[in-house]
Symmetry: C2
Subunit: 341 residues, 2 copies
Amino acid sequence: MSQTRAQRVVLASRPRGAPTVSDFRLEEGPIPEPGEGQVLLRVALLSLDPYMRGRMDAGPSYARPVEVGEVMEGGTAAVVDASRHPGFAVGDVVLSHSGWQTHALSDGKGLRRLDPTAAPVSTALGVLGMPGFTAYVGLTEIGRPAPGETVVVAAASGAVGSVVGQIARIRGARAVGIAGGERKCTFVKSELLFDAAVDHRAPDFAQRLAEACPKGVDVYFENVGGAVLDAVVPLLNDFARIPVCGLISQYNAVGPFPGPDRLPLTLRQVLTKSLTLRGFIQREFAPLRPTFEREMRGWLAKGQVRYREDVVEGLERAPEAFMGLLEGKNFGKLLVRVSPL
Amino acid sequence: MSQTRAQRVVLASRPRGAPTVSDFRLEEGPIPEPGEGQVLLRVALLSLDPYMRGRMDAGPSYARPVEVGEVMEGGTAAVVDASRHPGFAVGDVVLSHSGWQTHALSDGKGLRRLDPTAAPVSTALGVLGMPGFTAYVGLTEIGRPAPGETVVVAAASGAVGSVVGQIARIRGARAVGIAGGERKCTFVKSELLFDAAVDHRAPDFAQRLAEACPKGVDVYFENVGGAVLDAVVPLLNDFARIPVCGLISQYNAVGPFPGPDRLPLTLRQVLTKSLTLRGFIQREFAPLRPTFEREMRGWLAKGQVRYREDVVEGLERAPEAFMGLLEGKNFGKLLVRVSPL
């Protein structure tokens, strides 16, 4: 990567179905110069997260879409390379939302200074950042597992799911993770110390899941939808809670969806079991962020929460890594190292 | 009806799809005699409610099914015709769960004495009874409309829906009812004083509903499912609440349901709008029953809640009336007058 030129990845076209390389375009240009009151940020780490797939589509969602030709959005850890802002000095490390690019200007709004000596900078994009907070509020505010209850989490080796299961255990619940493939399942069980891990690729997945949940399921933390949801629903206990955090299995799908229609039977379960389904975005719970950070720092210090990162080198590899994320190819929190810290 | 013989309607066979007359059987026998500690109840009014369809099916639900050959279950208002129980005297009027029959024995458990001078006895099966309480807890505990919010209720002229909309208005919300046919819609608007009523049989139903909800929908009280739900979902505002009380449109359906699969798009709305879907049965909220009754008596006294009853004469007509209920043929709370009070 040239140090004298800025690079950025823009949305070249809206994908129909799964994104392809042609939906992204790497552009180069001069490194911008900060105006009065601005800082120049050099992006060090870019977080890749499933929600970004939604931003590539037009139409209403919980956030405005990325327009064709615009830089792909994303959370970043960045270094202040030049400053004409009284609040920031060259060398400061900040959490920003600079997107898929090597450099960005900022007026300082929304920037948050990070202390690289307190915690690895990457954790501000993972376990201590948006994904960790998503897991925390979804589980504790919506899922609300009681001690002894069973919590099932999909995408259990991922940035959010891994934290969900570990907090569930801290709260005294039984944590059952669902992941794709034996390697991830072994990690979920041996490293993250979930009570059980079930491979959704196994031909007898539904039966294995049932065996891993002998007392049924009280909380299902939904990240994926599709066949995994279908396997969980029959196991749900009365009054079970389903925080709906993501639906990665259907982000690339192009409707109308072929039958049979699964909605009537799902609603019947909602009715007869007094289920709660609750979609959420973490920012709804922003006032809880300080509490989360205090608790999470404590858990990390005691080794009660562990995490794994999957770091890809170079901004130009972001599209490929993101496409892999949507297929479950990453193993742990997916990050792109854009430049050295 | 013979006064010297008891009659009862039993489940003759489990329906596949819509119940037919052959799924019920009218049986006659001697009027039973109370043993020591028992009362003989003569049923005066039988409540017919959609939940009974679920009891006709085998398989798990929130209550045990009626077995083939057993009396159909149901809430009743009854008169004590003979008593060998110290707590009840001949002539007492009670709320009981005696089912589809003219006479029943009871040991007094679960009976509740009614004061026919305080309120019409029929209201104990309707606006002051299970349907009214269902409306109350579903709206106030799950729907929780804020003043100025829009509440949409399906089956708005029915026993539950009619109460939902009227309480919504009392709480300062905008009440929009959905009902089948112009007569019911006129009733909902002119008699129940909902802000708007929309006929789900109208060819432009979805558009009319959208026009009746210019600020979107904050609470959708779900009684029906199906096409009505599909019309409401796109109108839901962020953080909308959907108490799932019933799904009458699909009770008679026989799966698998033909496509397209409506679940992915529905879940997408749950996710992107942070919706809450919550199934419930009123008994979960039993501790609120006294509060409900106090409030409802006040509303009735002030004319703030009105109700309409659809009374069918004779136990032998219960099957036909019940089959009509599942098709929306009733107009108001459906009751069977089994014998004079």
